[in-house]
Each structure stands twice: as structure tokens, then as C-alpha cells.
Amino acid sequence: MSSVTRVVLAEDEVLLREGLVALLTRFDFTVCAAVGSAPELLAAAREHQPDLVLTDIRMPPGRRDDGLRAAVALRAERPHLPVVVLSQYVQTGYATALLDSGDGQRVGYLLKDRVAEVTEFVDTLRRVAGGGTAIDPDVVRQLLHRPRDPLAALSAREREVLALLAEGRSNASIAGRLHVSEAAVGKHVGNILLKLDLPPSDDTNRRVLAVLTYLRADPVS
């Protein structure tokens, strides 16, 4: 990953756009373009070939999911293009559409509220730009909420670990969050992957994707 991350930003509300530019600049991202609509986003991303695209979902011209569709279109052109979308509310369908785009990695789906947690938000952007995947905890919670027989087999602690796993965290990060040893986390992860019938692997991202793919599947009744 280069020292400077070049970002194309799309957000239709001017104040928030400026706020995001200020935030990105402060954390040494280079903002190549800050635009306010889906077509402008497409044009800017094609022109600047950024290291990261950060976009709102609901934007002009359609004011529906234009931002998301632009992001998906860009990833169809460049499957490895890191994209983070901001959503005003939890919408599992959007998260899955994003995960299904391009190579299914280097995507982030965050609630807009997360920009308030400045440092965490920036960490997430860096993680995605660096090849990771980040799905908002609320979305993960909703996905986990869905009853599935295999999930019923998980203990409460394993569910917690699974949720953090799905956010794209490393074992060390999970251990820090839950105040347990990293070894314990490793054991939990192993058990989870076993119970969910997912082949164990060390690659964080593959773990997340495996878990998410599993979660996205239609509930087994």
C-alpha cells in the first residue's frame, strides 16, 4: 500500500462533503475529487483511478441507490477497486449487493453514523483500501439475527466472535475487544468455522468472506 491513499469522494450534501474532505485530509488521504452525484462519481473515478472510492448511497439523479449502483458499476470495471459506501440505515440487501460486486473483497458498508467515530472510521477506510472488508456491526447483527440451525449451535461468546470476525477484524483486534487472549480467540474461531462447516484458514479476509457468504445464504427452514 502506498503511503498516500488517493480518494474519490461522493456525497450530495455539501456540508457533510466538506466535513469528510477535512477529515480525510487531516488523516493524510489525498482527495482527488469530491462530487455530489452518481454520474460525476463515475466520471471522477474513471479519470483519477483512485485507491479508494467513498460514496453515499442515496444520491442524485435518482435519489434512491444511485451511489451504490455507481460503486457496483465501477467495481465491474475494476474488480479490485476498494469501495466504501455510506448508508443512512441498515439495509442488508445493499451490503450483499456490494459483496457480490467485483472480487467480493475490498468493500466496506458502513452506516453514516460511523463517521462520528473519527478514528475508527479512518481505520476502516484504511483497512478496505489495504485489501480488507468491513461490514457495519449493525448489518452483521441483523444478519446474525436471522435464525439458522447451525447458528443455534454457537455459544453466546462464539456469536460475539463471529460478529467481530465478520467486521474484518484480526484475532488480535478481537482479543483486544473482548479482553481475552489471542489464543482463546483462535480457538473460538476454529470452533466457529467448524460448526459452520467452513474450512479454517489464516487469511482474515477469506474468513470474513466465508462467514458473510454463509450469513447471506437464505435461511434454512
Binding site: E13, L23, T92, K112
Partner: protein
């Protein structure tokens, strides 16, 4: 139906206390006031219709084609009758509607003069005309019969006095010469008074019923449709307004608040922990974050954004995703639905799934969205223990109200032991 006070004559007639109530007198007043009107109409009918009758009968008997003069007479007469009747009937109907109040406490509203052309076109007019003929043609005959009965009874009652005069035998069925012979007749006559009193009521009741049938304005179907349409319009306008508020909040207030929170977050980065500003800033930041959550819930309550963004099927799938039990969604929708129908359907599913989670102890649910004719049909089925009772306030009545506001129907089947099916049919005319 027995209320304390009968509202009209036919009801009052069935009461035991009828004879000693005010009703027979009201009936009598009604009959008496009918006489001049019916008489006037009868005379009119005889004047116009009278000459026609012999003409018709000669035509029938001789079977020859009528002469030109006869034809002209018949046509002119008929035209005059048909042309004048609606105008005359308007006035008579107004009087009759007012008069029927003598024996009927339920008001019979009059309608204003609709204009000449409209008067001839309206079916209600011709019902009034029919009433006119009935009042002028049939009523007098019935009254004569009734009057003869009354006079006969009066004769019977007064016979003992009248028969005292031997030179003048009273004739009822047979001549009566003496007071002694007349007494049984008098007794029977007195006993017949209540019968006649009832007959008075019956006659007035029949007449009032006919008047009611002929003169009550049928509830105009066009007006009814118009009322429903405007109600739907109102609901639609309300819906559009909600959508506008949601959009303003989503596109205006929410991003600004997010931006504010972001700025506060940025400021906190550069304020050292030990600075006096640090704590108020942290509090402000937390409050702004809390407000963001609150505003998001508020906006969602006004109008679910998923509906705006994804349409009905997508929004319902999101609802299913958020449910605590497995919910399968079958959506078979191809064309655009009116916005108000979408919103209503969304709330039906939302509420029904909420009920399933709260009351049904179900392990799974199914949601079906299909088009049937001009309707959108929403079915939510669960395998719970059934026994859902709208009367027990499971939110079903509120849901039914919402559905009714857009002219839809809510059907519920929830036998004990389940399964429960909530079916809602929403008409989709624009």
C-alpha cells in the same frame, strides 16, 4: 328491534301499548291530510286520463287502426302528462316528504331543484311520478273502502238510538226496528273500534312505507364513489406529505447532523484530554451521536426509506431479514403500484410479522405479494398456535383501519392451533 321509543309507525304498530299511545292519532292526522292532496291528484288524473280510457277501450274492441285525430289526441295527452308530471311531482314530493314526518321520525331529506333537464333524466324523478299516480289513482279507492267501514261501524254503534224511532228502521245488514234488536250490533260496533284503530295505523303505515320507498333519495352511487375517491385522494395527499417530510429530513437534516457530529469528532482529536474544553466537547459529541440515532428512527417511522429505495418487494425482504424467525418472501409483482398501496402493504407486513413475533410462538412465516385482477393481495401466514382475535387488540383493528382507508379488505383466519393467515386485498386504481 325494540327501542324505548319507536321511530316510525310500522314499528309502533307492533307495540302492545299502541292503542293508548299517540301513534294512532298521528296516523289519523296523516290520513286526513292525505285526502286533499290525493283528491286534487285524482281529479287531475281524471281530467287528463279520463277521456283517454274510452278511446283505448274503443280501439281494443274494434281493432281498427285509429284515426289521425284520435292519434293526435292520445299523443298530445300523453306528452302533456309526461311533460308536466316531473314538474308537478317535485312540488308534491316536497310536501309529501314533509308530511311523512307525521308518522315517521326518521327525516326524509328533500333535494334542491336540480334544473329542468336533470329533472327529466334522473331515475328518482320517475319514482316520484309513479308515486304521484299511486297517490291520485290507488289511494282514493283504499280510502273509500276504509271510509265505508268506518261509517258502517258508526252506524252499528249508534243503532240503538237511531232504532228507537220505529218509523225509521236502521239498515245494516237487515232492517232493525227496535232498540233491543240493535244492542248486539252496538256491542259488536264498539268492539270493532280497536280493530279500526289498528286498520287506521296499518293504512297509514303502508302509505308511509310507499312514500318512503318512492321519495327517499337513493344514495347516489356517483356521489359515493366521489366521496371514496376524495378520501383516497386525501390519504394519498397525506402520504405524499409524509414522503416529502421524510425526504427533507433525509436529504437536509440528517447529513447536516452527521456533518456536525463529524466536526465535533475532528475537534476532539486536537483537544488535549486535560483541557477544560475536552469534557463539554465529549458530551456534545455524544449527544450529537445520540441525536443521529434518534433522527434516523424518527425518519424511518415517518416513511420507511427502504420502501422509497427498494420498492415494496425489496422493502418487505428487508423486513423479513430483520425478523426473529425465518420468513420466506414470495413476490410476484411486475408493474408499478400506487405509492399509498405500497406503504399500506408495507405496514401490513410489518405489523403482521410483529404480531407473529409477539403472540404466535411460530417457527416460520411466509409472506406472499401477488396481483389478483386490479388488487394487490398480501398474505402473511405463520405456523403458530393461532387464536388471533382482533377484539383482543393485537393491532389487527388498527391495521384494518389503515387498509379500509385505501378501500381495501383485511381477512383473518386463525383457528386455535393455527395456522394464522392474514390476507389483505388492496385495490390499485389510480
Amino acid at each position: 328491534m325494540t327501542t324505548e321509543h319507536p321511530s316510525h309507525l310500522a314499528e309502533a304498530l307492533r307495540r302492545r301499548r299502541w292503542l293508548i299511545s299517540a301513534w294512532p292519532w298521528r296516523a289519523l292526522a296523516y290520513l286526513v291530510t292525505t285526502v286533499p292532496i290525493a283528491g286534487f291528484l285524482a281529479v287531475g288524473l281524471l281530467v287528463i286520463g279520463g277521456p283517454m280510457l274510452p278511446v283505448f277501450s274503443t280501439l281494443r274492441q274494434h281493432g281498427r287502426p285509429p284515426s289521425i285525430a284520435l292519434m293526435l289526441f292520445l299523443i298530445t295527452g300523453s306528452v302533456i302528462l309526461v311533460a308536466l308530471a316531473p314538474i308537478l311531482s317535485f312540488a308534491v314530493a316536497a310536501v309529501e316528504r314533509w308530511r311523512v314526518r307525521l308518522v315517521d321520525n326518521r327525516p326524509l331529506p328533500s333535494s334542491p331543484w336540480p334544473g329542468l333537464a336533470a329533472r327529466y333524466r334522473s331515475p328518482a324523478t320517475w319514482r316520484e311520478v309513479a308515486y304521484l299516480f299511486w297517490l291520485g289513482g290507488f289511494t282514493p279507492v283504499a280510502y273509500w273502502v276504509f271510509l265505508i267501514l268506518v261509517l258502517l261501524d258508526l252506524g252499528m254503534i249508534s243503532s240503538p238510538w237511531l232504532a228507537g224511532d220505529a218509523n225509521q228502521p236502521v239498515v245494516i245488514w237487515q232492517p232493525i226496528d227496535s232498540t233491543g234488536e240493535a244492542v248486539p250490533y252496538a256491542i259488536v260496533g264498539v268492539l270493532l273500534i280497536p280493530v279500526l284503530w289498528y286498520a287506521t295505523g296499518l293504512l297509514a303505515a303502508v302509505q308511509a312505507a310507499v312514500a318512503r320507498w318512492a321519495l327517499a333519495h337513493p344514495v347516489d352511487a356517483a356521489a359515493l364513489r366521489e366521496v371514496t375517491r376524495s378520501r383516497t385522494r386525501l390519504v394519498g395527499a397525506y402520504e405524499a406529505e409524509r414522503r416529502r417530510i421524510e425526504r427533507d429530513l433525509h436529504d437536509g437534516a440528517q447529513p447536516r447532523l452527521t456533518s456536525l457530529t463529524l466536526q465535533l469528532g475532528l475537534a476532539r482529536l486536537d483537544v488535549p484530554e486535560d483541557s477544560p474544553a475536552s469534557r463539554p466537547l465529549a458530551v456534545a459529541h455524544d449527544q450529537a451521536r445520540g441525536l443521529m440515532v434518534m433522527l434516523r428512527q424518527l425518519v424511518h417511522g415517518i416513511r420507511p426509506q427502504s420502501l422509497t429505495d427498494l420498492g415494496l418487494a425489496g422493502a418487505v425482504r428487508e423486513l423479513a431479514d430483520a425478523a426473529t424467525i425465518p420468513v420466506t418472501v414470495h413476490a410476484d409483482l411486475h408493474d408499478e403500484l400506487p405509492e399509498i398501496v405500497e406503504t399500506t402493504a408495507y405496514f401490513v407486513v410489518s405489523e403482521a410479522l410483529g404480531n407473529v413475533a409477539r403472540h404466535a410462538r411460530a417457527t416460520r412465516a411466509d409472506v406472499r405479494l401477488t396481483r389478483a385482477g386490479g388488487d394487490l393481495v398480501v398474505e402473511v401466514t405463520d405456523d403458530g398456535h393461532g387464536g388471533a382475535d382482533p377484539a383482543r387488540g393485537t393491532g389487527l383493528t388498527g391495521l384494518a383501519d389503515r387498509v379500509a382507508a385505501v378501500d381495501g379488505r383485511l381477512l383473518l383466519s386463525s383457528p386455535p392451533g393455527g395456522p394464522t393467515v392474514v390476507r389483505v386485498e388492496l385495490p390499485c386504481r389510480r
